[in-house]
């Protein structure tokens, strides 16, 4: 059985949808953050797969993924810091309760 592009893209699509679903349904900010990471990783997989199958001579997709992983790490650290601070101020990390920035 030859491993075609579809074998990679369908799990990544599934991962992405899980991420979206988690992002809009979870109340806990940590869970939302995890969902976000899930979406990012799905996109990373897509990049690598497209690069490997469609443009085997080039490396841009690979590099882009590496950068995305690095930046995602930094972004996660930042998000965790924000969440901790919100918890300190509001004693809560339920995203539906944190709606101070409205009209």
């Amino acid at each position: 059985m030859e491993l075609t592009m579809l074998y990679y893209l369908i799990p990544s699509l599934f991962m992405f949808c899980c991420g979206v679903y988690g992002f809009v349904t979870r109340k806990n900010m940590i869970a939302i953050l995890i969902s976000l990471e899930l979406m990012l990783n799905a996109v990373d997989i897509n990049f690598v797969v497209f690069n490997r199958y469609l443009f085997p001579g080039n490396m841009e997709g690979m590099f882009f993924t590496l950068f995305a992983i690095a930046i995602a790490a930094a972004e996660t650290a930042l998000a965790i810091a924000i969440i901790i601070n919100i918890f300190r101020v509001a004693s809560d990390i339920d995203v539906r309760e944190i709606n101070k920035m409205k009209f």
């Binding site: 979206v20 992002f23 809009v24 995203v95 539906r96 944190i98 709606n99 409205k102 009209f103």
Partner: protein, 676 residues
């Protein structure tokens, strides 16, 4: 001529204005008064020197071999240069009328400065509040008036014209805590400003076509157009007559541009000189201190209109239609003001209307002046009357000031029978009345006689008309005189506070001006001031004016004056019922005269009902409802839209994501549908 004296004449009053205005409050009242008077005294000496040098030195700059007097520009500084031809200059022009005006202005101004030292304090010697400010404003006025008469071009004249208006405004409103004084000053300013709008448009029309502001160019070229040589100007000035004659296309409503320019310039003169229908400000201007009325509203500023017409007289001669308008306006005003003066109660109002009437005499005299008749006698008569009138009217006003100061009221009803208590004021006032009534040999006789002769030469109708006005003048002045000094015994409530003559600072100017009023008529004006500088008489002596009288005219005017005085004497010398009977015989006429023919009410009606009510109110409504309404509705609409969509900004992050997702799905579907 050396420039030193002319510069001092202008600079010293200006300096005194700044000095007293800025530092006055740090010095005592007495010192401020003395400094102001001394400054004016020096200006007086300089002005007299300049005028006497001009008239009597025989210098070829001022008088040529034929005895014609010339114009000379002492200095002329470029002030603003816009283009090579559009230049505004400030300078000092010396010619017969400006020299004469220098004498008049500085004399009266000095007398008023001296007089105010006594007038501007009460019986206990307490100085009026703002005394130093008063002297500063008097100096400002003197500066502006001197600058006006020596102007070399019409634009300089306009600048100083506005300055005298502003200083008149400041002085009328000197008692600024009194509402009537404040409204009087505003009225004077607004009415004269309205007239000056016409003046400005006239200046612009005239100088646009003539290409120059300079009086020398304007008038000399005009005179050449009439085949007279007044003064040959430098350079190749264009012939103004041909300029205007060759502009047939530039007519407006049937009149040529020159007529329009001259009539509009005369409108400025009408405002300043209180000609009907722009006279309404002058009676109210009497709210100012009496010395101010004497200086500004009797002797100097109000004759600026006459001076303006005299200055441009050669131009007016080219367009006699404008001169005819001047005659009609002047004659109507003279008669109207004389009628009103006959019934007024406030002595300053009587004098104010008398001033209007006398200035109208000067205007009529200018209007009837033609070179064909006695070499432009009317012009000379007008200037002569300006000179004598300034002297005796200032005298009358200063007397009125002394009376008001002694009595504390403006009404003659509070005076009556003052002759024993104030002998000096009595005698000087009588001399002033005799002078204005035109009794030989007082000053007014000669000048008024020349005016009547000039009217006689022009048309018999205006001669009879003006003679009637002269009779009315004699009547109302002697009515005033008898009511103040005779009528009945003066009631003295407290023998220690009986009315008495005022301190020497106030009586000395009265005496000086009375002496001048006695003898000013003998000045041989015909040889000093004529429209083309050409002397009228071959030889000059003290009795020149007497020898050259037209005795038929003089006899008639004397008879009229004497009869009028006798009627006034009959009616007012002792208390009797005659005035009341006269009043009851013609109640309507009396009412109309007493209410000044309802001119103020007419103006109120026009401004409030017609202009404010029918023009301004609809415009205000349009502004408030249409223009403001449009802008307001934009704002309201935006506001409402914002309120209705503010719910979208819920602050709930997951809502935003939902909306985003739905948007993406929608856009994606649309794109997909389009692609398929």
């Amino acid at each position: 001529m050396d420039v030193t004296l002319p510069i001092i004449i202008l600079a010293l009053p200006l300096f005194m204005f700044l000095f007293l205005g800025l530092l006055g409050k740090y010095m005592s009242h007495r010192l401020a008064g003395i400094l102001g008077t001394a400054g004016m005294g020096i200006t007086l000496i300089c002005a007299y020197t300049v005028a006497f040098t001009y008239f009597f030195s025989g210098n070829p700059d001022f008088i040529n071999a034929e005895g014609e007097r010339l114009q000379q520009i002492v200095f002329n500084v470029t002030w603003l240069q816009f283009t090579p031809s559009l230049v505004l200059r400030l300078g000092f022009l010396i010619d017969p009328i400006s020299s004469m005006m220098l004498v008049v202005i500085t004399t009266i101004s000095f007398m008023v400065h001296l007089y105010s030292n006594g007038y501007m304090r009460d019986h206990h010697g307490v100085w009026e509040k703002g005394f130093q400010r008063f002297y500063a404003f008097l100096s400002l006025f003197s500066f502006s008036m001197l600058g006006l008469v020596v102007a070399t071009n019409i634009f300089q004249m306009y600048i100083f014209w506005e300055l005298v208006g502003a200083s008149s405004y400041l002085l009328i409103g000197f008692y600024y805590t009194k509402p009537s004084a404040v409204s009087a000053s505003k009225k004077a300013f607004i009415v004269t400003r309205f007239a000056d709008l016409g003046f400005l448009i006239g200046i612009l029309i005239l100088s646009f076509y003539a290409g120059t502001f300079d009086f020398t160019h304007l008038t000399s070229v005009a005179v050449e157009g009439l085949n007279h040589v007044y003064q040959v100007s430098e350079g190749t000035a264009q012939n103004i007559l041909s300029i205007f004659a060759n502009n047939p296309a530039s007519t407006f409503m049937g009149a040529s541009v020159l007529t329009w320019a001259l009539v509009l310039i005369f409108m400025g003169g009408m405002g300043k000189s209180a000609m009907m229908p722009l006279h309404i400000w002058l009676p109210d201007a009497m709210e100012g201190p009496t010395p101010v009325s004497a200086l500004i509203h009797a002797a100097t500023m109000v004759v600026a209109g006459v001076y303006l017409v005299a200055r441009l007289f050669p131009l007016y001669l080219m367009e006699t239609a404008a001169l005819d308008i001047i005659v009609v306006v002047g004659a109507l005003t003279a008669f109207y003001a004389a009628m009103v003066a006959c019934v007024q109660v406030d002595i300053k109002r009587v004098l104010a209307f008398s001033t209007i009437s006398q200035i109208a005499f000067m205007m009529v005299s200018l209007g009837v002046a033609r070179p064909e008749f006695h070499h432009g006698l009317g012009y000379m008569a007008s200037m002569f009357h300006l000179f004598t009138h300034a002297m005796f009217k200032a005298l009358l006003f200063l007397c009125a000031g002394a009376l008001i100061h002694a009595i504390g009221s403006n009404d003659y009803t509070a005076m009556h029978g003052l002759r024993k208590y104030m002998p000096i004021t009595h005698v000087t006032f009588l001399i002033g009345c005799l002078a204005i009534a035109g009794i030989i040999p007082f000053a007014g006789f000669f000048s008024k006689d020349e005016i009547l002769t000039a009217c006689f030469g022009h048309s018999i109708f205006w001669y009879i008309w003006m003679s009637c006005v002269a009779g009315l003048t004699a009547f109302y002045m002697f009515r005033l005189y008898f009511l103040i000094f005779w009528w009945k015994e003066h009631k003295v409530h407290d023998p220690h506070h009986a009315p008495h003559d005022q301190p020497w600072t106030m009586t000395l100017p009265l005496v000086i001006l009375a002496v001048v009023s006695c003898f000013a008529g003998f000045v041989p004006f015909g040889n000093l001031v004529t429209w083309n500088g050409h002397p009228m008489f071959e030889s000059v002596s003290f009795l020149t004016n007497l020898e050259n009288l037209d005795w038929s005219v003089a006899a008639i005017s004397l008879t009229v004056a004497v009869v009028a005085i006798l009627i006034a004497m009959k009616m007012y010398k002792t208390e009797n019922e005659l005035p009341a009977k006269m009043r009851n015989a013609l109640p309507a006429l009396w009412d109309w005269c007493y209410h000044r023919f309802y001119w103020d009410e007419l103006y109120m009606f026009i401004t409030h009902r017609i202009i404010f009510g029918l023009v301004c109110k609809p415009i205000a409504w349009f502004d408030r409802h249409i223009i403001d309404g449009t802008m307001d509705s934009f704002a309201t609409l935006t506001n409402k839209a914002s309120w209705s969509i503010r719910g979208l900004q819920s602050g709930n992050v997951q809502t935003y994501v939902w909306i985003y997702l739905i948007g993406v799905i929608l856009l994606g579907s649309i794109t997909a549908i389009c692609l398929i």
